[in-house]
């Protein structure tokens, strides 16, 4: 159970952290909350020569919202602070639901959204709601920073488009459009602690009863969180009758590419994609029409 040996750095500024990452090279690993990295090290799947902890960087844990710019979540903001932030609870309930579905109280007191994204598990709960809401992530490097859509961030299980030497510094979510609503729901074998066997995020915008725009993202049923684009086309520009919602679920199940593993069979996962897609469509519409 002992951890492998490593050097530990706790820089006080982002600049210092970026220099350290460059200096230490590929054997260095950046750590926010540590809840994924520690487990990987305990299981000897990760043996970094050095850990560069971000928690000492002043202000990197800030969560800011205003109705013009939307929401910015700093890389070291704890999951618990994201889930309970009054503006997130009010304007981004799908994100609150996703974060509260993760792990347990202790891990939510330690873990971060940025860490959840950088860990890049296909089952990452924060990814679907953030992707459907059009989130972008800021990646900083010694040469400057870039901001990319979260949609383009994941490249495989545990893999992202981040370059070596880059650090994710924040996540940005646009302000919710008028008459739009989002939902995230997940299912797993146990109600607590277990990672999602299937997760579905939906965001939809309406004009009257007609859906103007919709995004559907499926978690844990493909190598990366998956946009269900055919499902979106099916639902866009239409009134969501109960028949159409039923068809939306079936179409999403069609688009999912799950595998069978210790958590669930591929067949069951497809069925649950249909169920959760219907439920999230209904919830997103409810929130949109109420708002």
């Amino acid at each position: 159970m002992r951890l492998p040996k490593f050097e530990y750095f706790a820089p006080k500024t982002l600049e210092a952290a970026l220099s350290l990452v460059a200096e230490q090279g590929s054997a260095a690993h950046v750590m926010a909350g540590g809840t994924d990295i520690m487990v990987k090290m305990i299981h000897a799947r990760l043996k970094p020569a050095s850990i560069i902890a971000l928690n000492g960087i002043d202000g990197l844990d800030a969560i800011r919202f205003n109705s013009e710019d939307g929401l910015t979540i700093g890389a070291t903001a704890r999951l618990v602070d994201v889930a309970s932030h009054p503006d997130i609870v009010k304007h981004y309930p799908a994100l609150t639901a996703a974060v509260l579905s993760m792990a347990n109280v202790e891990v939510r007191n330690m873990g971060t959204v940025a860490g959840n994204l950088c860990n890049a598990a296909p089952s990452a709960d924060s990814a679907p709601p953030l992707m459907v809401m059009g989130a972008e992530v800021t990646l900083a490097g010694l040469k400057g920073e870039r901001r990319i859509p979260l949609n383009d961030f994941f490249s495989g299980p545990g893999l992202t488009v981040m370059d070596r030497g880059e650090i994710m510094t924040s996540i940005h979510v646009p302000p919710p459009a008028a008459r739009s609503g989002a939902s995230y729901q997940r299912i797993s074998g146990r109600c607590g602690v277990d990672i999602a066997a299937v997760g579905v995020g939906v965001m939809a915008r309406f004009d009257g009863e007609v859906c103007q725009d919709v995004r559907v993202v499926l978690a844990a049923v493909a190598p990366v969180p998956l946009r269900a684009k055919e499902t979106e086309s099916l639902l866009r520009g239409k009134i969501w009758t109960s028949e159409l919602i039923e068809q939306g679920g079936d179409q999403a199940a069609e688009e999912a590419k799950p595998i069978s593993d210790v958590r669930a069979s591929a067949e069951w996962r497809k069925k649950m994609v249909a169920v959760l897609t219907r439920r999230t469509l209904v919830e997103a519409r409810e929130r949109a029409l109420k708002g």
Partner: protein, 162 residues
């Protein structure tokens, strides 16, 4: 290279040199002899190692000791106000028979104290959610949930005779 860190545990100040790869759990148990905090799974799944850092419960098996530099740690040894008197949560655990083998107890109690500090009147569902991630292999969950609700009542009415 060892790091010199300063932190408090249950109000006592410590200044020690630790290797960066040692967990808070190891340092509490092996260096400070505070063995009330247990180690269960070692991967953050079972809750047995829960302690508070700056008032929030964390898994001490997933916390590097170097990372608590400058922070305040509270363990199960720091719950009771004195050697004579137990914390209301501990008293409720004894009274309701919520302790069987005892291995999960310190983690459960830390979670209960944390929950009640945020929510003095939790429903049964909220208690179960607050303790979710804490495994009791004796499966005495009902008594544990009852203990938390008894403790909540005691803490809401501290002047009533228990």
């Amino acid at each position: 290279m060892k790091h010199q860190i300063k932190f408090t545990v249950n109000g006592d100040e410590y200044s020690i040199a630790v290797d960066p790869w040692r967990t808070l759990n190891e340092v509490l148990r092996d260096d400070l002899n505070l063995t009330g905090t247990k180690l269960g799974c070692g991967t953050g799944d079972c809750g047995a190692c829960a302690v508070m850092v700056d008032g929030r419960t964390v898994s001490s098996c997933l916390t590097l000791a170097v990372s608590v530099d400058g922070k305040s740690v509270r363990t199960v040894e720091g719950l009771a106000p004195s050697g004579e008197e137990l914390h209301p949560v501990q008293e409720a655990f004894v009274k309701t028979g919520a302790i069987q083998c005892g291995y999960c107890t310190s983690g459960m109690e830390m979670a209960a104290v944390h929950l009640l500090s945020h929510n003095p009147s939790p429903t049964e569902k909220e208690i179960r959610a607050g303790l979710s991630g804490h495994l009791c292999r004796c499966t005495g969950y009902n008594q544990i949930v009852e203990a938390v609700s008894v403790a909540a009542e005691t803490m809401r009415n501290p002047n009533q005779k228990r």
